[in-house]
């Protein structure tokens, strides 16, 4: 039933409905409210699970890995430096094809250290081999978390659910929370074929010689590509039983014949949607919400950008020395279609900088007056930068 509830509390409730048996986490803003709520459920007897209050994120990932490989559904969550501290384990979990769900409450990594929201952390581990799904609002965060367990356990690939820190985790909004029965009908009990069992002893984590290593990496890469279908299937199956869908790999709003498109990940999508209402006089715009960053939906992007003259790619992180991350990958995807749109790639809202509604008209004005922008910081205030550093 619909409730006005804080994002983190809703996510925690969603996780609880998925009946995880082992939760291991280490405190870090802005993830803490999720784990605090889970701890409360356990203390009040509403969730029977082991809460392992580990001594670092490195051990959080290691503990849930241990639990998953021993036959229990496990869950963890972290942000920024915490994600990077568990990087080694993330690669290990993906390579070993262990089904796990992790919520990344997106936060800038730095340096300089920042406690605020951008997507530098999840982008930094995009090559770890995890499925990465981004949520545009807290309703999607709830639904995606539940779908993630099913996706992970069917594809035997770990899923990272990326939720904007503070902007979503600490924001109270109307959210439709499913019931336990509904989630039980959607998500069968945890079953992991390769879970360790003395009755069928197997060894996991073997050293692989050059003779087989390439094939192992190929299998992992193909699994991720094939996972795209499972992501769409899970979204559709969820929509059938509760009437809500998150858009599978990617979704868009706005007139089909629009000539300009804006592609975003995460909560800025809602701001642009409201902005369109706020500024009716501006040119017609197609708003594209990229949900799956990994596997990167090349075909879906090509189809969504069909007929566009200009595509603005707004992202909340960058690769220093290269420029946009999503921008580069979108350009690569669009380079295969006959008349690709001009791609304008901007980083925006880094380290929690506010993205007001006026960002939409300013964006459209910028691309009208200048040619395609390979990459730039859209809300940069150069007067704050020393001469020699410009």
């Amino acid at each position: 039933m619909r409730e006005a509830i804080e994002g983190s509390a809703a996510i925690a409730q969603a996780v609880a409905f998925c009946r995880p048996q082992v939760i291991a986490a280490y405190p870090i803003t802005p993830q803490t409210h999720i784990v605090e709520n889970l701890a409360k459920f356990i203390a009040e007897g509403r969730l029977s699970a082991e809460l392992v209050s580990v001594e670092s994120e490195f051990s959080a990932a290691s503990a849930v890995l241990g639990a998953a490989v021993s036959g229990s559904r496990a869950y963890t969550a972290s942000s920024a430096q915490g994600i990077l501290l568990m990087t080694e384990v993330l690669y290990n979990i993906a390579g070993l094809r262990i089904p796990l769900v992790l919520t990344c409450a997106n936060r800038a990594v730095g340096a300089p250290v920042s406690a605020w929201n951008d997507q530098q952390d999840s982008m930094a581990v995009r090559d770890a081999g995890w499925i990465q799904l981004y949520c545009a609002d807290n309703q999607e965060a709830v639904d995606t978390t539940i779908q993630a367990f099913r996706i992970a356990e069917r594809t035997e690939l770990p899923v990272m659910v990326c939720v904007d820190g503070y902007a979503l985790t600490h924001t109270l909004e109307p959210i439709e929370l499913p019931t336990q029965e509904l989630v039980d009908s959607f998500l069968p009990p945890y079953h992991f074929a390769r879970s360790l069992d003395p009755r069928n002893p197997i060894s996991i984590g073997n050293l692989v010689t050059p003779e087989y290593y390439t094939e192992a990496r190929y299998v992992h890469h193909r699994a991720l590509e094939r996972a795209a279908d499972e992501i769409v299937a899970a979204d559709r199956a969820w929509a059938e039983i509760c009437g809500r869908e998150c858009g599978g790999l990617l979704a868009f709003e706005g007139p089909n014949d629009a000539r300009v498109g804006i592609l975003t990940l995460g909560s800025v999508f809602g701001t642009l949607a409201d902005a369109r209402e706020e500024y009716p006089g501006i040119p017609r715009v197609k708003l594209i919400k990229l949900r799956a960053m990994r596997p990167f939906p090349i075909v879906a992007i090509q189809r969504a950008c069909h007929g566009l003259d200009d595509l603005i790619v707004l992202e909340r992180a960058l690769s220093p020395g290269a420029g946009g991350i999503v921008g580069a990958e979108v350009r690569a995807a669009l380079s295969e279609i006959p008349t690709p749109p001009r791609v304008h790639n901007f980083a925006v809202g880094l380290g929690g900088r506010d993205m007001p509604l006026s960002i939409l008209p300013r964006l459209l004005e910028t691309i009208r007056t200048s040619g395609p922008t390979r990459f730039n910081f859209f809300d940069l205030e150069l007067n704050k930068v020393a001469e020699e550093d410009r």
Binding site: E3, A4, E6, T29, P30, A115, W116, N117, D137, D164, Y166, A167, L168, H170, T171, L172, E173, P174, S267, V268, F269, G270, T271, A273, D274, A275, E277, G352, D354, M355, P356, L357
Partner: protein, 201 residues
């Protein structure tokens, strides 16, 4: 299009409120209670704290959006129509009333008369000694409930009963009853509807 217009109710496109308080004094809880009350009375809502570490005593803010239309934006409240000041000493904090819409309403928890806060330019001030009311009804110097009740009465944004409902999610039996008595007493301390015209942003 504005759904409310069809029912001839006042069409509220978007009302934005900032609650100024101090770290550790339930500033965010007040925002959540107000939003949940508005939600219970059939409106779309959003509420969030000022993002960043909250230190006991440090001036902080929390924000509430109430609208007849779904609120999809996730950005800061820059020009609130109303301010709620949890304690009058906050007036000394530089630019604590920054961004307030001209002619906006400022509700201050103070035993002093509104006139004594004349320094705040271009806005309509109402005071209520919410801390004392808190002591009187709850036995503890907590101004939050009294301030919310006064605010709801002043603006008529939502019926007082919605506030009671929202409180019942957090408190039970004696504490709930005291809070509810406090709500009606605080509401009676301000002239209801005085701010009805503000906020049609």
């Amino acid at each position: 299009m504005c759904v409310a217009q069809k029912h001839q109710e006042r069409c509220i496109l978007m009302v934005e409120i900032r609650i100024n308080g101090r770290g550790g004094q339930g500033n965010v809880v007040s925002a959540y209670i107000l939003a949940q009350a508005a939600f219970a009375s059939g409106r779309f809502v959003q509420a969030f704290p000022s993002f960043g570490p909250e230190r006991r005593g440090a001036p902080v803010a929390a924000f509430v959006r109430i609208s007849d239309l779904p609120i999809r934006r996730h950005c800061q409240v820059l020009h609130p129509a109303f301010l709620i000041m949890q304690d009058e000493a906050l007036i000394h904090v530089p630019h604590v009333t920054e961004g307030l819409r001209p002619g906006g309403g400022v509700l201050i928890n103070s035993a002093k008369a509104a006139g004594e806060f004349a320094t705040l330019p271009g806005c309509r001030i109402v005071t209520i000694s919410a801390t004392r009311l808190g002591e009187q009804f709850l036995g503890r110097p907590i101004p939050n409930t009294a301030l919310l009740a006064a605010f709801v009465a002043l603006t008529g944004l939502l019926p007082l009963e919605a506030l009671d409902n929202s409180l019942s999610r957090r408190f039970r039996d004696a504490t709930l009853a005291n809070n509810q008595k406090l709500v009606h007493e605080a509401a009676s301390r301000v002239d209801a509807g005085a701010w009805k015209d503000i906020g049609n942003a």
